[in-house]
Amino acid sequence: MDFKIAVSGRSWGERAAAEPQAGKHGEARRLVAVLELTNISKHFGAIQAVNDVSLSIEPGQVVGLMGDNGAGKSTLVKMIAGNFRPSHGTMQMDGKDLILHKPVEARQHGIEIVHQDLALCNNLTAAANVYLGRELRRGVGPFRILDYAAMYKRAGQIFAVLKSETRPRDLVKQMSGGQRQAVAIARTMLSQAKIVLMDEPTAAISVRQVAEVLNLIRHLRDQGISVVLISHRMPDVFDVADRVIVMRRGRKVADKTIASSSPEEVTGLITGAIEQVS
């Protein structure tokens, strides 16, 4: 499989230039949604996990996806990630129909996931983790060996872009929570990711490291990458997101800009005290 590697500083520069202040001008780019979900539903037998959800995600936008346990957040995200196929509805990416059978296909379309447990191997170096499953090799034909130098170098470049003090040669088991997040996020930047789905990235780390992770998300956004942030933590979403989508019992009950909402309103929407806002 041929993964495109876009890790030289130049290509990032170009992308950042192509999407000036993405996110802030979200309204102006409604038409070029990177991902568009239309009337998506998913049921498992009699259980309706996701019910008629439509939403669109624009380039360089951070979208907070909130909701109580069982509200359908994970099911929705797993459909975008290729783990499940929707029962009804369509997904479109850059205006083209998107049908995913496996997670690998999602990755090929530029959809990357940062798993809640980060999916890191403690016994390997940061660079080895970043490149896990898509190692760089050099040589010809069957005689191809791992290209340690290139992987260290490029992983280092990614960490520099993320402004994270993470050393590519260090073992992951010696790292702080923030550095581990940086390694998991760096993975998503190997290919031309368009959307990064992050599952509860701030759930189990210290306060200081939360700030570090939120900065990582901002750096991703600055590259023109859209981020879907699934979180229970209200302050994080209001700190970093441009938009918040609230789900309750499988339905989308709110989808508005952060500026036009408030933590109180979102709390009400999550619990059901507020029925729905448009």
Binding site: L124, F159, A160
Partner: protein
């Protein structure tokens, strides 16, 4: 701030030397060297060419199987069937050649047997989710039983038209008077070391041992690799069986009895972690060497052979103790 982000990222935390000192393998090497030095001075018979020839040759069988076992242990698995598989492959080779076939056909049959057994173990473990301990425990019993069936539980010591070739293969010393098995061991160790450090396959083996779930999520073909490592382990046992047949000049159904424990001991002494994710080819060789030096020295020092198990068991515990102490210090 004087240090820039780029400098921090570029920084190497460990020099080559500090990394070497931090490995269990290094300290086991030191132990082997000290033991050899001590024995050279304490006894007249240790540092003789004949004794050294014996030691190096005895090390090889355990070491070759340990090289294969290293792959399995790095993935976090275990292969208890290696002793029996060694015996089965020896017996297939012996019976085939005894029936009048050439040495090439005999070796091909033995290696095919090893690969089939390995694939069987691997498929049960990787695709059907059986615990490795149980599958290979079953195979330990099955393979030895099949060896008895193949030979009708007799000793085979006549290997047909290519009898002499087989004995030369295992018993000769073609280069500089070094026993042939030692050459095979060195060659296989180099191949193992190369695969573990420089190939994608090797990297994925370590990833599976470190976090199998993560390996799956990142697209590593976990199941195929697991089947492959059990095939490699069985193959190593088969190769050791072929060489040992040539060296002994006879095969009994007792061959390799209890060997799996020695092999596992060698890999663990050499620094492999049974929890997975850690292990080296060099460690497997060094671990096997330490066990053999202990065994040899007890004989030379006139200590009753019944004490052997105590010393080898002590070496296992001591090696792992060093590892624990280092970990305690790190977690402080």
């Amino acid at each position: 701030m004087a240090v820039t982000l780029d400098q921090t990222i570029e920084q190497k935390q460990h020099t080559l030397l500090s990394r070497v000192f931090a490995t269990q393998t290094f300290w086991v090497v030191i132990a082997v060297i000290l033991a050899c030095l001590f024995l050279s001075f304490a006894t007249d018979s240790f540092a003789t060419p004949k004794n050294l020839y014996n030691i190096t040759r005895n090390v090889t069988f355990v070491a070759i199987v340990a090289l294969g076992m290293t792959f399995v242990i790095i993935t976090g698995g275990i292969d208890l069937s290696v002793g029996s598989v060694l015996c089965l492959c020896s017996m297939i080779l012996a019976v085939t050649m005894h029936a009048g076939y050439s040495i090439e056909i005999g070796i091909a049959a033995a290696i095919a047997t090893a690969l089939i057994v390995g694939a069987f173990n691997g498929i049960l473990i990787a695709y059907l989710g059986f615990p490795p301990f149980v599958v290979t425990l079953g195979m330990l019993s099955i393979a030895r039983s099949l060896a008895m069936v193949a030979s009708n539980n007799t000793v085979v010591f006549q290997f047909g038209p290519d009898h002499d070739k087989l004995l030369a293969l295992g018993g000769g010393a073609w280069v500089f008077g070094i026993a042939n098995p030692v050459l095979y061991m060195i060659l296989l160790a180099l191949v193992t070391g190369f695969v573990l450090r420089w190939t994608k396959f090797g990297r994925h083996i370590f990833a599976i041992g470190g976090n199998e779930h993560a390996a799956t999520l990142t697209g590593v073909p976990v199941r195929q690799i697991k089947v492959a490592v059990y095939m490699i382990s069985a193959l190593a046992a088969g190769i050791a069986g072929i060489i040992q047949t040539g060296w002994l000049g006879a095969v009994t159904t007792n061959l390799g009895n209890g060997m799996e424990l020695q092999v596992i001991a060698a890999t663990v002494i050499g620094g492999a972690n049974l929890a997975g994710g850690v292990g080296t080819a060099f460690g497997a060789i060094v671990g096997a060497a330490l066990i053999e030096v202990i065994r040899n020295s007890l004989g030379l020092l006139g200590i009753n052979a019944f004490w052997q198990g105590v010393f080898i068991g002590g070496a296992i515990l001591l090696a792992v103790l060093f590892d624990r102490i280092r970990n305690f210090r790190r977690s402080d």
